[in-house]
């Protein structure tokens, strides 16, 4: 029976080539979109699951509540580790670490130098995260503080094919570390990425500021991870650890610290905290694109339904005959479903090809490494279910509709598809176009929001501005470096600071200022220690007062505040007023107010910031002279850096690029929404094209008669297009408020956001109508141009 069904289905496909092509292409595109989104979603959910014990692993976080805000941070003080280890039953391992992955250090082997991200971790880190060792073992790797483990890629980069075990690496050109282990490269779908690890003991022994860290509860500069005993849950542990910091540290009490756990399973998708609970994060986008994937698939299925029911007159006679020779309705339903499953199956093969072709660009855009798991039998089982599901979904309506025909009416030849059939079809077209138009609107809004934030004045000039970490000998050689850079002629201006232009690394508290109310809390303020020439180099302008002098020792009691800080503390005539902060021992004098500069998120208001004149700093900023060739300039600069910092490779960033990275997520969302909107409208139009062809064909005789009676091409075009354009207009009216509602919600994420005006909706409607007109005009004009004599004679 099935064989018979499939045979007919196959012949039907061959018989109606254009119709079949539209159906298969549309379904294939829809299935490809859903498939690629499906693979992406699976990839997102696969994060951090490559380690055996991932379900029992947690990062320890700290939640604070103050008068003005509450927030959750990963930065903790070391003493907590010891308490967790010794006093809390149910915890198997505890590891304190620094910011693993974000600590950039210089690894030197002979003449090879690498400046890569890694970190320092307690030996139990390797027991918690059982990274597979290629050489060495988790047990022994950190026995000696002066050891280092590398991932394979870093090992190969440093040692080539030679065995790296027990070889010596010069670390920051200061210490010698022995390679005691090689781990497999960390997969891309892991939140924690690093190239090397050193024992935490090494960090404590070699970094001066670490001396008191082990006993200081207020030095929240570290991360902490735990593994729970098998069978122990986070819920059981939570009440036992909640108040540990509060109990042990009197100084921390005002901020009401609560120790909380963040499950490794949630790291990637649930990283936004509200009231100490992971409430969302990237999962929102995963959900959003899952919905889009389903919508696009639905749009493709609607095409199939519409074209099949539209063509029902052609199939009606077959239904009648079959019923008259003994077919039951269930036989016919089965037949039509078999047909749609066959078409879906063919479409699925195309969709796999499409996905395979699209994956490289998709991976580049979203920075992933998704591949179709051809070798995985689960994939094929999944595909099979996918085909069945899509086939049954797309085929259900045609099957039930077509099989319901009465054989007598059909065979008498009086059968006409009535209004009853075309109404659901119209509803489906409206549904299709509503989805497509909503996607278009979303794309436009996302781009508007990005553009809006990008065009926001930054308060500094990023043009030709470069940043390099102040590593190795640079801090000591800073003055000489600066002079050489300037005298080389390719650099216009040089400055140093404790934070790069596009970030603020440290926050302090502004405790006293004139006019502060008694019960007012201190202000959390971004603190930047800057060299002289800082504002000039960055292109920031002083609103009042004056810049720091060129001798930093003159300025030890002077600070410059930004406008936001002045506004926050409500200071009138700030110049020469005294304030107190925890960056200096005594009160300091405000010597200047600088205009707000956008150093953190481009979507939030500029936060209060304080600038203090200091030596050293973490970053060197320098602006290229105008009209120099960038490549040549970088070569020259490279040489100068090499002279003053020979052990380190020269690594630089353009501030422009760094700034643009802040829009990565939004640009990604915009790009994906754009691509999917394009595909949705393409598939919808494909369906419309088919419907228009059908309508034109169905009305050939009518058009012939009308033409004989004197209708012009324009009359005929209007006749055939009017209905469709009306449907698209209705879709615009439905899509606009729905899109408005969701986008308004999305924009709430951003403090600095556009307000949605009517323009987008009008524009999207216009675009949709133009696309519709182009799609159907082809058929309408073709019908209008047909010689009426021909079409009438064939009747």
């Amino acid at each position: 029976m099935i064989k018979n069904y499939l045979k007919i289905a196959w012949r039907n496909i061959l018989h109606n080539k254009v119709y079949s092509a539209i159906n298969i292409l549309g379904l294939a595109a829809g299935m490809a979109v859903a498939l690629i989104i499906g693979l992406w979603v699976i990839n997102e959910f696969s994060y951090d699951k490559f380690l055996p014990n991932y379900k029992q692993l947690y990062q320890v976080n700290l939640h604070f509540t103050t008068q003005r805000e509450e927030h959750t941070q990963t930065a903790l003080a070391i003493p907590l580790a010891e308490v967790l280890r010794k006093e809390i039953p149910g915890i198997k391992y505890v590891a304190e670490t620094d910011w693993v992955g974000w600590q950039y250090h210089d690894l030197l082997v002979g003449t090879k130098k690498l400046y890569v991200g890694g970190g320092a971790a307690h030996p139990d880190f390797l027991k918690i995260f059982e990274y597979p060792f290629v050489k060495g073992s988790a047990k022994d790797a950190f026995k000696d503080p002066y050891s280092i483990i590398l991932d394979q890629a870093t090992a190969t980069a440093l040692f080539g094919n030679a065995d790296p075990m027990n070889k010596i690496i010069r670390f920051d050109n200061q210490q010698n570390l022995k390679v005691t282990g090689i781990i497999k490269d960390i997969p891309k779908n892991a939140t924690k990425q690093f190239s090397f690890l050193t024992p935490f003991a090494f960090k404590e022994q070699t970094e001066g500021w670490m001396k008191s860290a082990r006993t200081t509860w207020t030095n929240n500069s570290f991360n902490m991870y735990i593994e729970l005993q098998p069978g122990v849950t986070a819920e059981q542990i939570a009440p036992k650890i909640k108040n540990l910091v509060y109990q042990h540290s009197v100084q921390m009490r005002p901020a009401k610290p609560e120790v909380i756990l963040h499950a490794m399973m949630d790291w990637h998708l649930y990283s936004d905290f509200k009231m100490g609970k992971p409430v969302g994060g990237f999962i929102d986008y995963v959900r959003m694109f899952s919905i889009i994937g389903i919508l696009v698939l639905l749009i493709a299925c609607i095409n199939f339904m519409n074209l099949s029911t539209a063509r029902s007159e052609k199939r009606a006679r077959e239904v009648g005959v079959r019923k008259a020779i003994g077919s039951q309705r269930s036989d016919l339903i089965a037949q039509f479903l078999a047909e749609s499953v066959l078409i879906t199956f063919i479409a699925s093969l195309f969709s796999i090809v499409f996905v395979q072709l699209a994956l490289p660009s998709f991976n580049t855009v979203i920075g992933s490494s998704i591949a179709i798991p051809f070798a995985n039998p689960l994939f094929w089982i999944g595909m099979l279910l996918y085909v069945l599901f899509t086939g049954l979904l797309a085929g259900s309506r045609p099957a039930f509709y077509l099989s319901s025909f009465n054989p007598v009416t059909v065979l008498k030849g009086t059968f006409k598809v009535g209004k009853a059939a075309s109404l659901p079809r119209k509803v489906l077209v409206v549904l299709q176009f509503s989805c497509s138009i909503a996607l278009i609107i979303s794309t436009v809004i996302v781009y508007q929001q990005i553009q809006y934030a990008k065009s926001r004045p930054t308060g500094y000039s990023s043009e030709r501005l470069m940043v390099t970490d102040m590593s190795g000998d640079l801090a000591n050689n800073y003055d000489a470096l600066k002079n050489s850079l300037i005298s080389s002629g390719v650099v216009e201006s040089v400055a140093a600071a404790s934070s790069p232009v596009t970030n603020i690394y440290s926050h302090m508290s502004l405790d006293k200022w004139p006019g502060k109310a008694a019960d007012e809390e201190s202000v959390n303020i971004g603190a930047i220690f800057v060299s002289d020439n800082y504002f000039k180099t960055l292109g920031m302008t002083l609103k009042e007062g004056h810049d720091f002098s060129s001798k930093w020792s003159d300025d030890t009691t002077s600070v410059i505040l930004n406008e936001a800080a002045i506004k926050r503390i409500g200071l009138k005539d700030p110049i020469n007023k005294l304030v107190t902060w925890n960056g200096s021992s005594g009160p300091v004098r405000i010597i200047g107010v600088v205009k707000d500069a956008l150093m953190e998120s481009p979507f939030t208001p500029v936060a209060p910031a304080i600038f203090s004149h200091g030596r050293g700093g973490n970053n060197v900023m320098y602006r290229l002279a105008p009209n120099v060739n960038t490549q040549d300039a970088i070569k020259k600069i490279n040489k100068i850096f090499d002279t003053y910092n020979p052990a380190y490779p020269y690594i630089y960033q353009f501030v422009d690029d760094e700034y643009n990275h802040k829009f990565n997520l939004e640009v990604l969302v915009g790009k994906l929404a754009g691509v999917f909107a394009g595909l949705a409208i393409f598939i919808s139009c494909l369906g419309l094209f088919g419907l228009a062809a059908y309508v034109a064909e169905q009305r050939t005789k009518e058009i012939g008669i009308r033409k004989v009676l004197g209708a012009t091409i324009a009359n005929v075009w209007l006749l055939l297009s009017r209905d469709f354009i009306l449907l698209v207009l209705i879709s615009c009216i439905i899509a606009s408020p729905v899109a408005f509602y969701f986008l308004q919600g999305w924009l709430q994420k951003y403090d600095y956001r556009i307000s949605i005006g009517p323009g987008v909706f009008l524009l999207s409607a216009l675009v949709a109508i133009i696309i519709t007109m182009i799609t159907i005009s082809f058929q309408a004009i073709k019908a209008a141009l047909t010689n009426p004599v021909k079409s009438l004679r064939s009747e």
Binding site: I8, R317, G326, P407, G413
Partner: protein, 225 residues
């Protein structure tokens, strides 16, 4: 074998009942060959459709092979139909996408015959109708007469007890028509198939054992030959 009692069929046209079959009663015995005649619009096709259970009467009692058809559910009716009845249409109504062979085979598929049985039965009937050479052609590649032969072969493949034919020769020339009528007579006499045909041709009607004249949905006359 068949008994229609007080059968009426009407269409509601702007509130008025428009009777197509009007209180019509008819008895048909096994082995009869009935020709139904009457002017266009008199309800011949409607009557045939009712007999063939493709159409429901609005009123009346319908007994067939010992079953009260008017009380049966769709599924049972369909089973009864499959078991007893073959239908031939004026417009042949072959399925364009199927070959001659497959068209004839289709009813057997619906009746769950095994593949080997189907092969034998189709081969048999192709042979009987002398169309073995055409078995792999599609309907569009056949003449009208040939198509109707296939239609009849298809109606007969499952060995029905009753053959219903609505103007089977309507689209054929007289020679082709005569051949079909000869075939019907043979089926009726040798294979004991009960036949009810609708026809406009006196000559073709004469092949039957009884002629019924229909007028305005009523039997105007009935004459045994």
């Amino acid at each position: 074998m068949l008994s229609l009692q007080h059968i009426s069929k009407y269409y509601q046209v702007s509130g008025l009942k428009n009777y197509v079959l009007n209180d019509l009663s008819l008895e048909v015995d096994e082995g009869e060959f009935i020709s139904i005649m009457g002017p266009s619009g008199s309800g011949k096709s409607t009557l045939l459709n009712v007999i063939g259970m493709l159409d429901d009467p609005s009123d009346g009692y319908h007994y067939f092979a010992g079953h009260a058809v008017h009380q049966l559910k769709e599924k049972q009716r369909s089973a009864l139909y499959k078991q007893y009845i073959g239908f031939v249409f004026q417009a042949y109504h072959l399925i364009d996408e199927l070959t001659v062979y497959e068209n004839i085979e289709t009813p057997l598929i619906y009746q769950d015959f095994k593949s080997s049985e189907r092969k034998a039965m189709v081969a048999d009937i192709l042979d009987k109708f002398n169309i073995v050479g055409k078995k792999d052609l599609f309907p569009a590649q056949l003449s009208g007469g040939q198509q109707q032969l296939v239609g009849i072969a298809r109606a007969l493949i499952a060995k029905p007890k009753m053959l219903l034919a609505d103007e089977p020769t309507g689209n054929l020339n007289s020679k082709q028509g005569e051949e079909i009528m000869e075939l019907f007579r043979k089926l009726n006499r040798e294979d004991k198939v009960t036949i009810i045909q609708v026809t406009h041709s006196e000559k073709n009607a004469e092949y039957g054992t009884r002629i019924i004249n229909l007028l305005d949905g009523k039997i105007a006359s009935s004459k045994k030959l």
